[in-house]
């Protein structure tokens, strides 16, 4: 295991250990105690295993998990940002269909290997987006009658 995954493993397992210890702390201190009997059982095992994993990571003895390379991070970061903005903000504040159309088109543009310099690739992306949205509208709005937030159109 080289240094980069080791550091990453320490951060990842440290975060999980912190969650495990917090869950155990809450389970043992929160009232009414009777409501936390089962969580206490789970949290104890959770915390022990999480600390074990963290100690192994600190000692550099983690054998499983490749971590994330710089290239992976660079590749996924734009898509991740679009996903976060779409799911946690745009879907509600812009409306589902508007937000999905924008997010879908941006993701196609970001990750489509076709060149950005040709007009026909942009037209193709636009058509794919329109086709997808038509299918989604047909499925969710017309077939399943799902009423979604329409914010900017409401």
């Amino acid at each position: 295991m080289n240094d980069l995954p080791r550091t990453q493993h320490i951060i990842a397992s440290g975060t999980i250990a912190a969650v495990g210890v917090s869950v155990a702390h809450i389970s043992y201190t929160q009232e009414p105690a009777a409501a936390f009997v089962f969580p206490r059982l789970i949290a104890t095992v959770f915390a022990v295993l999480a600390i074990w994993t963290f100690v192994k990571a600190v000692l550099g003895r983690t054998k499983v998990g490749q971590g994330l390379s710089g290239q992976d991070m660079r590749n996924l970061l734009p898509g991740l940002i679009v996903t976060l903005v779409y799911a946690f903000w745009a879907a509600k504040d812009l409306g589902f269909y508007t937000a999905t159309t924008i997010a879908f088109f941006i993701l196609l543009t970001l990750y489509d290997p076709a060149p950005h310099t040709e007009a026909k690739t942009w037209i193709k992306r636009g058509l794919i987006t329109a086709g997808f949205m038509a299918v989604m509208y047909g499925l969710f709005a017309m077939l399943l009658n799902v009423y979604t937030p329409r914010e900017i159109f409401s």
């Binding site: 789970i42 998990g65 799911a87 990750y111 969710f140």
Partner: protein, 503 residues
């Protein structure tokens, strides 16, 4: 023979139409690299809300059956397994395709899948009611241990690290406790309003299975699908049938191995295909031909991974313990329709469960027929750019999660769990035990609390939970599965260290 009484329900226009739709859709989605059967079934659950429970389950069952078989298309023509279950199929299937026998490989894979699948569903039909009767003997303590068994077996056998597998199971069990306590009405771990009612299982499943695959597609950057699709030549179907039936040994080994592995909770089709391939190779007089485009390799692998489908539902339908991640997703599909599987399922809901099982039987035949018809065409879905696939899955995940309870909270939970799961997977954690923990957590807690109340009023908790042959059997299996996995991990590590030293 009760199943025959409900056979007619499969052929009503709506049910049969859904069966055909699920089969064709499953074949196409299964052929798409990156769309696993579990994720496909999870994404389809929102579409079953408007359907009757019987219809919804028929659609999900058909999708499950045919996505496993559809994965063979990309395994054979592209050398990219559509699902982990099809890994063994690539070994001989793709070599056959390279030799100009792509159509033959596809045909024998669908025929072998159907034969294995039919046997597996017959096992489900005949074993399930027997086990359901036997399961009536289970009290709260046994059901508690059974739920723990479900999490630990998947946590240990399905993960590359025992500790991380068990830790994933614990995270799932903890997530299941979020929300209001049923008995005391107390709030537990409610750190955000989105989880005040607890974590809804369906958005969680969609997030845990779909979002990590979407991000994994992002991580590959702006690259296209680099695999070349091999053109399929015509091949007479009759000759493919004769080929399959002339290779009875491989067919029997694949079917038997798949059926047995399917019954063991936590051991999926990926292992079934590989074990069947290995055993078939060892027992074949033509073992030297394996890996060079030998039809027996395809027959053994494909019959095994579809034979596994039926038996993997036995623990789910009898004990409400899902035997695989896909079975866990199907459990979610049952729960949203208010159906709780268990020993009483066959007496309370025979009109739902028997048509569902029967549809899987008919679905195997439809899968074979449609598979033979559309196999060559289905491979074209692999040409769909990764960017389109990622964006489509993301859109479906957001809409699907929202449609469960018309709540943005479900979308946030789906996205948060999905993102966390992607990073957890990069560090050796796996989604399957977490999902099992999330689904089995309420079952484990309800039975633990019920058992504790009985124990306090009678013989005491230690005696109640740790005596009785059934309790001991279940505890022994839990301990044995952990012990076996630790032994395997240590052995693997020693082997790797030795190899490194030699290198």
């Amino acid at each position: 023979m009760e199943f025959l009484y409900y056979m007619g329900d499969v052929f009503t226009p709506v049910n049969f139409g859904l069966l055909v739709l699920g089969t064709i859709g499953g074949l196409i989605l299964g052929a798409t690299p990156g769309l696993s059967p579990t994720m496909t079934v999870a994404l389809m659950i929102p579409f079953t809300f408007k359907l009757e429970p019987q219809q919804g389950l028929i659609l999900l069952g058909a999708a499950y059956t045919s996505t496993v078989a559809g994965g063979a298309v990309s395994a054979i023509l592209l050398k990219i397994p559509g699902a982990p279950a099809n890994i063994a199929t690539t070994l001989d299937g793709h070599t056959m395709a390279q030799k100009g026998q792509g159509a033959k490989a596809l045909q024998i894979s669908f025929i072998a899948s159907a034969i294995g699948g039919l046997f597996g569903v017959f096992l489900l039909i005949f074993l399930t009611p027997v086990l359901a009767t036997w399961a009536l003997a289970f009290g709260p303590s046994e059901l508690f241990w059974l739920a723990i068994l479900g999490v630990t077996v998947i946590g240990t056998l399905d993960s590359s690290s025992v500790v991380k597998g068990l830790l994933s199971g614990c995270i799932g069990l903890w997530l299941a406790t979020i929300g209001f306590d049923d008995i005391m009405g107390a709030q537990r771990f409610i750190f955000h309003s989105s989880v005040s009612g607890g974590i809804n299982v369906i958005p969680a499943l969609i997030g845990l299975f779909a979002i990590p695959q979407v991000i994994a597609m992002f991580a590959k950057g702006r690259s296209g699908v680099d695999a070349e699709i091999i053109v399929v030549q015509r091949h007479p179907i009759g000759a493919a049938f004769r080929e399959v039936f002339s290779r009875k040994r491989a067919l029997a080994i694949g079917t038997a191995v798949g059926s047995i592995i399917g019954l063991i909770p936590g051991v999926g089709g990926q292992i079934a295909g590989l074990v069947a391939y290995d055993q078939s190779k060892k027992m074949s007089p033509e073992s030297g031909k394996f890996g060079t485009g030998h039809p027996e390799g395809v027959i053994a692998a494909e019959s095994a991974n579809n034979a596994m489908v039926g038996p993997s539902l036995v623990p789910l339908l009898t004990l409400s313990i899902p035997g695989s991640p896909t079975a866990a997703v199907l459990l979610g599909g049952l729960l949203i329709h208010g159906i709780f599987p268990g020993p009483a399922l066959f007496t309370q809901y025979p009109e739902v469960v028997w048509p569902f099982i029967n549809s899987m039987l008919v679905g195997q035949i439809l899968m074979c027929v449609f598979g033979l018809l559309i196999a060559g065409w289905a491979a074209n879905v692999a040409r769909v750019p990764r960017a389109v696939m990622a964006a489509v899955v993301l859109g479906l995940a957001v809409f699907g999660s929202y449609s469960v309870g018309h709540s943005m909270g479900d979308v946030y939970v789906m996205a948060a769990l999905g993102l966390a799961m992607y990073f957890l997977e990069r560090f050796g954690f796996s989604a399957a035990p977490l999902v099992l923990g999330l689904i089995l957590g309420p079952i484990a807690e309800a039975n633990f609390m019920q058992g504790a109340m009985i124990a306090n009023a009678t013989i005491g908790q230690m005696t109640y939970f740790f005596t009785g042959w059934l309790n001991w059997l279940l505890i022994s299996i839990v301990v044995a599965s952990i012990g076996y996995s630790i032994w395997m991990e240590l052995r693997q590590r020693r082997y790797t260290t030795k190899e490194d030293a030699q290198a």
